[in-house]
Symmetry: C2
Subunit: 369 residues, 2 copies
């Protein structure tokens, strides 16, 4: 997806059915959950034959979407009183490939007149069968992960006067970096502050309607793309909340993470962590695990590597306490983490973003002056 010029309209309204076959209740459905929680489009159903019949609320507490039905098939979604007019692929598998079994579902959706929205590394528009079917049925194939911006290297751009750029970093993939930044943007706007969100991955782009799919960009141009979309974010708001990707110690994705840090050159970073996770979600080799880093040293590492290009501090820790069902446990862990790191800490998804936003605002204003 090309970064749209700032100020353009939100994506046109569609009634979505989200394909999340076999993935509900699992973090591989994170695109589905993100679009359900933060997207503005109607969602008429989620397809997961392994969980149907059910409702979204059985798997995730998403305000306003608890009653969205989980159905067993595309046909069941098409039989609803308000049938969908677009199918959104709601999983993000390792490597980003389209499972073979799903192609038949996509062809069937196209034959029923549905647009297809995909964030996979494998582009729909590169599949001759899908392209031919889409042309025959007059539907659109939207590959949000296809980079279409200019292929340019970073130039060392300075931020605009008065702008504050905040980047989410994390201890692993899929811990909630996007959600934290969307929550902080929401709190900033509620506070009467001019703020924008810069999407760097497929789910964020589906939600926001623009951004750059950084992990799909040729490596030489990652930092240039980040510089460009942060500039666009600055045109949309004074506080620019940048979605993070991967983690700085990830065996497969750390270089994407550093591209965000050195391309966005944030004034400050918010570290996102999911207490209870011990190892990276990375189990390709049966006898090998990669433990998550202890927070204090990892915070220092972020500040040191960021400052190799432009100084930046970690100003807060956002926890994803979803592994702790009990609220008392969650609040205790938040307290412990604040004490361990010396930083403001909260779970903005579970307990609201207001306190974390207030802390970030105060610290960044003090830092930047």
């Amino acid at each position: 997806m090309d970064p749209h010029p700032p100020g353009t309209a939100a994506p046109e309204r569609q009634r979505l059915v989200i394909l999340a076959e076999g993935a509900l209740g699992d973090h591989s459905a994170k695109t589905a959950y993100g679009v359900l929680r933060y997207g503005s489009r109607d969602v008429v159903a989620v397809i997961d034959s392994t969980k149907a019949p059910a409702v979204v609320g059985d798997f995730r507490d998403i305000p306003g979407r608890l009653d969205v039905p989980v159905v067993a098939s595309l046909e069941a979604a098409l039989a609803l009183p308000q049938p969908p007019d677009a199918l959104l692929i709601g999983i993000a598998p390792t490597g980003g490939r389209l499972p073979d079994a799903w192609k038949g579902i996509l062809l069937s959706a196209i034959e029923h007149g549905l647009d297809i929205i995909s964030g996979l590394h494998t582009f729909l528009a590169d599949d001759p069968d899908l392209v031919a079917a889409a042309a025959a049925h007059g539907v659109a194939l939207q590959d949000v992960r296809r980079p279409t911006g200019p292929r340019t290297t970073a130039v060392g751009r300075r931020h605009g006067p008065g702008k504050r750029v905040i980047l989410a970093v994390g201890t692993d993939c899929a811990v909630g970096k996007m959600s934290v930044m969307l929550e902080l943007r929401r709190a900033a706007l509620a506070d009467g502050v001019s703020a924008s969100f810069v999407a760097t991955g497929q789910t964020g782009i589906m939600i926001e309607g623009w951004g750059a799919p950084v992990d799909a960009i040729v490596s030489d141009f990652v930092q240039g793309a980040m510089e460009r979309i942060v500039e666009q974010g600055e045109q949309l708001g004074d506080w620019v909340m940048v979605e993070g990707q991967g983690s700085l110690d990830h065996p497969a994705y750390s270089s994407v993470t550093l591209g965000l840090i050195h391309g966005a050159t944030p004034h400050a970073m918010v570290l996102v962590h999911k207490p209870g996770l011990l190892d990276h979600d990375f189990d390709h080799l049966p006898d090998r695990t990669f433990p998550l880093a202890p927070l204090p040293g990892f915070i220092d590492l972020h500040e040191r590597i960021a400052s190799a290009v432009a100084p930046a501090k970690v100003v807060a820790v956002a926890l994803n306490t979803s592994l702790y069902a009990d609220e008392t446990d969650a609040r205790r862990i938040i307290e412990q983490t604040a004490a361990e790191t010396g930083l403001p800490c909260d779970d903005p998804y579970r307990f609201g973003p207001e306190r974390l936003w207030a802390a970030v605002r105060e610290r960044v204003d003090t830092l930047v002056g």
Copy 2:
């Protein structure tokens, strides 16, 4: 370029003319110099109309190539007693694009039956005019920077038993990381040690005939590509010398550098530096410079960030003393750098790689055990 299966033959012999228009005497001709110094193919001439008539030795002390003529035009090269049968594009401009003015030269070369070898980000095979001309004249267009290996993420592979993987890192682009690793491989082989070279950029691939053009690979797959070509390097030798790219503090390319570190997971790194350079070669904005990092802290930063995935030490510093014409000055700076860093230090390009290789070998054997 696809990583060729280890053990395949070197690139077939060609008589090259190298296009380096306007670039001789400048580090933007680094591909030309690399192929002249380390390549095995005949070079009948270099084209640079701003420097002709001249010989390579007027610009660079390259043993065996001092008398290669610098000519003003393709026509002059074609009129030589041994005319070329391939044209190699010998510059690496920022962003990797083909200067417009050169396209006419390429078309003329194709019309005269020359293959074209390019390492630019802009692929020859994507230009309809060049493709049509090549088809009409039966010549090959070779884009060594086109990634054709599998698009796979890293899996956390362990190195093979007894293997030693050494990665070059640097304080800037274009300081000599490739040359240092080629020199170390040469010294290891001369020492009777099994050793290989793993090319990660266009010049290295042109020299070696295989490798991965890492900066042209989609960012999600950089660490996977590194893991794969290091495995191939291990099949070719016990000591695997991996070409580096960029620098960990580069505003545009640091994420590529980290992809090499965390994808190759080297046992040890050799830091390459060019004394006398003060700022990164990065002047996009007239009022902004990016100073090079002081060596001791930068060495520590490399070790810390590497160890976030797999422990690795910087075991030696290789200097490019080309800014110091006087040998006494060069040797003094080598001594100073050894004292400042506490590491073995030499200029292996200028003074031979034997001492640096002996120091690397001893330190790595001690580290790895």
